[in-house]
Amino acid sequence: MTDLTKLTIADAREGLKNKDYTSQELTEAFLNNIEAANAQLNAYVAVTADKARDMAKASDEKLSKGEGGALEGIPLGIKDLFATEGVHTQACSHILDSFKPAYESTVTSNLWADGAVMLGKLNMDEFAMGSSNETSYYGPVINPWRKNGSNQDLVPGGSSGGSASAVAARLCMGATATDTGGSIRQPAAFTGTVGIKPTYGRCSRWGVVAFASSLDQAGPIAHTVRDSAILLKTMASVDPKDTTSVDVEVPDYEAAIGKSVKGLKIGIPAEYRMDGMPNEIEELWQKGIAWLKDAGAEIVDITMPHTKYALPAYYIVAPAEASSNLARYDGVRYGLRVPGNDIVEMYENTRAEGFGEEVKRRVLIGTYVLSAGYYDAYYLKAQKVRTLIKRDFDLAWANGVDAILTPATPSAAFGVADQDLHSDPVKMYLNDIFTVTVNMAGLPGISVPAGVDKDGLPLGLQLIGKPFDESTLFQVGQVIEDAAGSFEPQKWWG
């Protein structure tokens, strides 16, 4: 019998409809994989096996009657940032110990309404702050990929490291993730999976634990461009509960897949060529350009002069918003409480023990840049620079560019507990140098696996699109996927 966990969502959708297998069989196969692998990969922080079996059974009843939604019976993993009713929802932070919400996020509600099955909650960097999934209170996630001939543990990227690792290791068919500065696209690139951050306002933020509200967006990580289109179609919606949810109808993203890219104008921004960038990244980029050219796209050089300022501006805007959002964790209404002699000491003790080092760092930076006398010098200036970053993109669109092609990350996955990266917080932040511009401008961006480096580790290319034009990203992304093929790690776990 075929290994059901090797199927794509698109395959399984057909197989379930044709009754080749049941959702219960599919779900059981994934639960077995999780059981065997999770001690090594640490991708799940909570496995909801009973709930998964119940949901799969309900799906099978619908499927047997020829009914069911777009994701009927498809087993998924959910990032711990999404509120799931009565289930572990702690943003992988100590400060949210034992928190189980009495409500469901809009994104996960949409998934269940379309018939998806929840396997459990996925590990992530604490409050989505990190690029290596090492800041989680539940310990680092391990990348299923290893360098050729090496047994060194590598990071899956972050913050959606659990989502990326679980998809790559076949511990779910697809996963929800979120992206504030690159947290979907960087882990997707590090694990040979596809990840899309949609336009700001496309997926509701209701019920998603807030990090930086003007940047946060949910999106899927999956094996193929088509699977990510299928998942986004269900995750995206117009939601009155989120005032930044935009009133634009969700298109049928799959319809864009397979369409010719002939005549599309693809912009290549020179500013994404960084000093010290490995040759392999440049070569990958050139390969991507050649594939799109062969497929009939027109390649144009464009200039985005404010690119290098996106990351420093981000490290003012994101911590500022985080310091405000995380003010709610005070030991009163939920989570951890550490007693003190008075209420202020209780707050201080709770937050000192409940937040990890990276979260504290960002809360302090955010508090500092928003404090009296510094607001104009930091926050206001960063928001003005953000206007200029967005203007660079607006100019490209005005010149007829349909999508922009860049590398997804400046390197392949690195080792767990890398000394060099941990000695200086800024070095870790540089991981997001190619992805963060997209968040600052609120645009959609997709990372598609495009090759491997000299050690056999996957690398990704990023496509950036116009606001609410995710369809073009799926259309062009499919061309890259067709040319590059698929990427599967050698199994050493479980």
Partner: protein
């Protein structure tokens, strides 16, 4: 601009995070590395540039100021570390 250890302690107090002397010293270095990094923004000419307040041009959505939800005191206090009769319990605030 850079911060000294006293400033870090003052900011930590504002953020209600207890820091030890050692932590404050270590964090001073880390925060200065980040502040040094963001200093690049001084190179950018921002004369006459409006700050970005929304990435998507959209009029702020409004809703009717009506009661649409409620009677969920149990749900709301469900996760509290200390609660009694649907009240959050905290250390004494007023003498």
């Amino acid at each position: 601009m850079s911060v000294d250890t006293d400033t870090v302690k003052r900011v930590a107090r504002l953020a209600r995070i207890k820091v030890s002397e050692d932590e404050a010293t270590r964090m001073t270095g880390e925060l200065n590395a980040i502040l040094g990094f963001v200093e690049q923004l001084d190179e950018v000419n921002i004369d006459g540039v409006e700050p970005l307040t929304s990435v998507v041009e959209q009029t702020m959505k409004k809703r009717v100021d009506g009661i649409t939800d409620g009677n969920k005191a149990n749900d709301i206090t469900l996760n509290a570390p200390a609660s009694e009769d649907n009240f959050f319990m905290v250390p004494k605030v007023v003498e």
